[in-house]
């Protein structure tokens, strides 16, 4: 009986979608030659697909509710495979070893093209982790993160173009400039409440992009800057292939560094203040935390990472123009953070790989990749809004053992 009703409902849904998509999917007009093309086949396609998807959606939503109920009833969450995977050292260590081994041999097994894609994915991992500080930990919704990324990329491109400065010299400058811009923007806007902050940062991101696009004397406008030097290894320039591998390892290094820093930060005095700020601003202030300073810290630190990655990006592509720094970029990075599970390092990494590699390998149906990308974002949020991996707070061990021999149980947050 229940099955029948859900069939009936799904049938109605498919009728509705056939109606909904009628003008755009079925009719195509060529106004110059005055031909109307009727694509009835598409209507059947929409009807069929929406019927199946609606059935599936209904099934999964029901399952999700059932699960939630079961958890609420029993009060305990069963140890899932995933939890075992990350929480127990016996599982975590071998897995980490396998992953590191795979990471090391990757560029030697796969083609330069694959390595290059992987490097891009790693850049997004680090960007995601950087934005995670701002959004995931401090709860500041930043929709203009790409602006700081652009600052880093253009500082390398311009310094390289005008003064011939190298990658390693500009890296700290790019990071510094990112931080400076973060502070500059942060000072006036951080007293705004959440949603306003979102739109102001979005506006700021667009301003930076538009300036880069229009101020030709400074940035060479939409045509961009080409022939940016690749990073050098001890002063020698490598060939294209060797360089791709080199950049890949630079990014691996960056990722490890970032994970290390973020992991330490989030379980520190500062990190706790960020999370507290996210949870309740008023209580946070009443606990003696300087709201503005703490926010500014997070904002500038996030921007620093974006600045650094900008430099790497410019060095990787050797050509940049304002089109690389659109709002879509910010949206993708934000999606990485939210889909990964706010504040969770492992989640951010997994999400970055999914979101960046998926479209790359979907190039086979390249036309549909952005469509699927949007679709996945929606589906993911509907079925798992807490992200791929939800954040578990660290637990501490306490006792009266004096002195330095503290053995905090270092449960890597998952």
């Amino acid at each position: 009986m229940k099955l029948l009703t859900s069939f009936k409902k799904s049938f109605l849904v498919s009728i509705w979608f056939m109606f909904l998509t009628f003008p755009i999917m079925v009719i195509r007009v060529n106004p110059i030659e005055e031909i109307i093309e009727w694509r009835w086949w598409n209507m059947l396609l929409v009807g069929g697909c929406s019927f199946v998807l609606s059935l599936l959606g209904r099934y999964f939503l029901e399952k999700k509710e059932l699960m939630a109920k079961r958890v609420a009833d029993s009060g305990v969450i069963a140890t899932t495979f995933k939890k075992r995977l990350f929480e127990q050292r016996a599982f975590a260590v071998p897995i980490l070893i396998i992953i590191s081994f795979a990471a090391i041999i990757f560029p030697f097994i796969f083609s330069t093209y694959q390595t290059s894609i992987m490097t891009t994915a790693l850049i997004y991992v680090v960007l995601g982790l950087g934005l995670n500080i701002v959004v995931g930990l401090a709860g500041l919704l930043d929709l203009g993160y790409v602006a700081f990324y652009a600052v880093g990329a253009y500082s390398y491109a311009l310094l390289n173009y005008h003064f011939g400065m190298g990658f390693w010299a500009v890296l700290p400058i790019g990071a510094g400039l990112g931080a400076v811009f973060g502070l500059l923007l942060g000072f006036p806007v951080l007293r705004l409440r959440g949603d306003y902050l979102a739109i102001v940062t979005l506006g700021f991101g667009e301003i930076i992009r538009l300036i880069l696009e229009n101020w030709n004397d400074f940035s060479q406008g939409p045509s961009g800057i080409a022939n940016i030097s690749r990073p050098s290894l001890f002063g020698t320039q490598l060939g294209l292939e060797a360089n791709t591998v080199y950049l890949y390892f630079i990014m691996i290094g960056f990722m490890i560094f970032t994970i290390f820093v973020v992991n330490r930060l989030q379980n520190s005095r500062i990190g706790r203040a960020w999370i507290a700020l996210r949870e309740d601003e008023i209580a946070c202030q009443a606990m003696g935390i300087d709201k503005t300073r703490t926010k500014l810290n997070a904002f500038a630190l996030g921007a620093t990472w974006a600045g650094m990655m900008g430099v790497v990006f410019a060095a990787k592509t050797t050509f940049i123009n304002p089109a690389s720094f659109t709002f879509l970029e910010s949206a993708i990075i934000l999606s990485i953070v939210v889909m990964g599970g706010m504040g969770s390092i492992v989640g951010v990494i997994v999400a970055a790989f999914i979101l960046i590699l998926l479209p790359e390998y979907l190039r086979a149906f390249s036309d549909y990749r952005m469509l699927l990308f949007g679709c996945i974002m929606v589906v993911m949020m509907v079925f798992r809004p807490q992200g791929i991996i939800s954040n578990v707070r660290r637990t501490y061990r306490y006792g009266n053992n004096k002195g330095q021999d503290i053995n905090h149980r270092e449960t890597e947050e998952v």
């Binding site: 520190s268 500062i270 990190g271 999370i275 949870e279 008023i282 946070c284 501490y396």
Partner: protein, 260 residues
């Protein structure tokens, strides 16, 4: 010695006078209660003292940490906390997705100093500081009787426990004066009794003075050294519990004209 000295405190919201010429003094080791009907301006008074609002006129002086006298009108809430005033909230404001221990550790923020750099490099100083934060926070949780839920998320605590956690968190800021906004609200008689004992213990063991807003008269009368009564933003009486119980103004405010 007086810890808190409020003189002629007035607070206007537009044309509305929410607080009218309030004078309150809290001495060391004293428990002072503020009572009054709903809407009398008690919480507004708290908000003025703790920097949530900037009072229109009057002085708030604190002899806080370090022994110096500070005028704290218009100071930001976090600065007020640094001066040695800590508070709880009428409608509990914990950090729901953090553990119970972490909630208390947040309270230690203004008494510690590890920076971003320190957190990343985790030098011996930071490690030592972190260790002390954990230990002292745990100690505080033991004092309020929450030692068994240390690693639970704050949102999973029972109501009475959440109230006690708020007190522990406030204590972690190492205050000289603790401000409790209706700590017994929503508690059953048993929990209220425990709270009564806890407040006395805090005063006796930690040498912290307490200023509380409370509606539970039994608790107020048994606990307080001094009671301040407010009505319509005015301070209508002040005195020991017995004095207040026999004050005709107070009876009028609470029970209406006929009983006076």
């Amino acid at each position: 010695m007086s810890l808190l000295n409020v003189t002629n405190l007035t607070m206007d919201f537009g044309g509305l006078r929410a607080l009218d010429n309030i004078n309150i003094t809290v001495h060391e080791n004293e428990i002072v209660a503020i009572i009054g009907p709903n809407g009398a301006g008690k919480t507004t008074f708290f908000n003025c003292i703790t920097g949530m609002y900037t009072p229109t006129s009057g002085d708030i002086l604190v002899n806080g940490t370090g022994g110096k006298t500070h005028r704290i009108n218009g100071l930001k809430p976090n600065k007020v906390t640094e001066k040695g005033l800590a508070r709880t909230f009428q409608n509990i404001r914990l950090f729901p997705d953090m553990t119970v221990l972490e909630n208390v550790m947040i309270g230690k923020h203004c008494r510690t100093k590890a920076s971003v750099i320190g957190a990343v490099f985790r030098g011996s100083e930071t490690v030592q500081e972190e260790y002390e934060i954990v230990e002292s926070s745990y100690e505080l949780l033991r004092k309020v009787g929450l030692e068994n839920s240390v690693n639970n998320l704050a949102k999973n605590l029972a109501y009475g426990e959440q109230r006690r956690l708020e007190i522990a968190r406030a204590l972690a800021t190492e205050p000289v004066l603790l401000l409790l906004d209706e700590p017994a609200a929503g508690m059953n008689p048993h929990e209220t009794k425990e709270l009564d004992e806890l407040i006395v213990r805090i005063r006796d063991e930690e040498n912290i003075a307490i200023l509380l807003i409370e509606h539970d008269m039994k608790l107020v009368m048994s606990l307080s050294d001094k009671i301040v009564v407010m009505d319509y933003g005015k301070q209508i009486a002040q005195g020991t519990p017995t004095e207040i119980q026999n004050n005709p103004e107070v009876i009028k405010a609470y029970l209406g004209e006929d009983f006076a």
